[in-house]
Amino acid sequence: MTRLARLEQSLLPHLDAAYNLARWLTRNDHDAEDVVQEAFVRAMRYFDSMKGAEARPWLLAIVRNTGYTWLERNRPADLVSIDDVGPLSTEVESAGHASGVDANPEVILLQSANRKLVNQALEELPIGYREVIVMREIEDLSYKEIASIAGIPIGTVMSRLARGRSLLKGLIENRMRKAS
């Protein structure tokens, strides 16, 4: 089998995963397509370095890097940095309980929020939280896979998930209040 055929066979099945991540990073259809296409060309160049790695996280790491490079050049304001060690802001705490990890009735209520509202709130979330939530909840990746894709320790993945969810919950609640 040619290198091209091997590449297509191992990477093209993950095209949807690649597009979904790129779409959530760029928040735009057209830009997501550009990022994915560029990511596949890069993947082809580095394909020999993939070796035994699992194709999906390997490809997603390239998509993420490509997406970040694209945002740096075109929309640097999207790349807000997030504080992994500091205390939660008062805004987050007032939006919900800081830990926010219990599957309590409040969360169940949130889950019934409609898709459009969840989408909007998730898009509003700073990119560092948004990407871990997308990879965990929409793409069903493990903590370990997310850690390797984003290049951060597993502990950071977990704390970003917790804070991100807490922030997201606040954003959804705000929108629900406004809507009612």
Binding site: T2, L12, Y19, V41, M44, V107, Q111, N119, L122
Partner: protein, 217 residues
């Protein structure tokens, strides 16, 4: 968090968010661009072998004048190799910090071209080819092949293209030749006595298109 390995215990707040599926057309576009990339990689790997076989055939054929020609061919080959390496280095360096890329940042060729006047002993070819997918981004002075050269930057989709220009030692026009080096596509050609070297992380075929567009300017 004791429930870290139990997904059911996680509050999946965004579970209902949209899973965006890739449009069909994207899949076909990617297949096409991967195939094009594979072809241009194959081409650039074939060429050195042809050169070598050419050299061997010539050496077998005769002595004297012929072997002199072979030496010239090889000198040219190694010259090309050395310049390609220099061009890759200059390109990578230009991208390391955003401020390295352009001394004059402008999409207007009438701003970029005059900027070089008085800084170089030749007038580089500058054109805004935004309509053809290569938007002029600016220019700077650089140092390649032991002399100050013009470096023009273009943007092609997500990519930065550097085009280095300097007066050619052999002023005859030369059609674009492409090389792949360290994952970069490099295309060089000579036109109106000016040697051009274009480099980027795009497909080699895209740079040949740029070469053809710039040759028409």
């Amino acid at each position: 968090m004791t429930q870290k390995n139990d997904p059911t215990a996680e509050p999946m707040i965004a579970r209902d968010a949209t899973y965006y599926r890739a449009p069909d057309a994207l899949g076909s576009r990617i297949r096409a661009s991967l195939a094009a990339e594979a072809r241009s990689e194959a081409r650039s790997q074939v060429r050195p072998t042809l050169w070598r076989w050419g050299g061997i055939a010539a050496a077998f054929a005769a002595v004297g004048v012929l072997s002199w020609n072979v030496a010239l061919l090889q000198a040219r080959g190694s010259d090309e190799d050395r310049l390609a390496r220099e061009v890759v280095t200059a390109h990578v360096r230009s991208l390391m910090v955003e401020s390295h890329l352009n001394d004059v940042a402008s999409t207007d060729q009438h701003t970029v071209k005059p900027w070089f006047a008085g800084k170089l002993d030749f007038a580089p070819a500058v054109a805004d080819l935004a309509a053809s997918g290569f938007a002029l981004a600016g220019g700077r002075l650089d140092y390649v092949n032991g002399r100050p050269v013009a470096a023009l930057t273009y943007r092609h989709r997500l990519h930065v293209v550097n085009v280095f220009e300097w007066p050619a030692t052999d002023a005859r026009d030369q059609a674009p030749r492409s090389i792949a080096l360290q994952g970069y596509a490099v295309v060089h050609w000579t036109r109106s006595g000016i040697e051009h070297w274009a480099i980027s992380d795009v497909a080699g075929a895209d740079l040949v298109t740029l070469a053809e567009l710039l040759s028409k300017v």
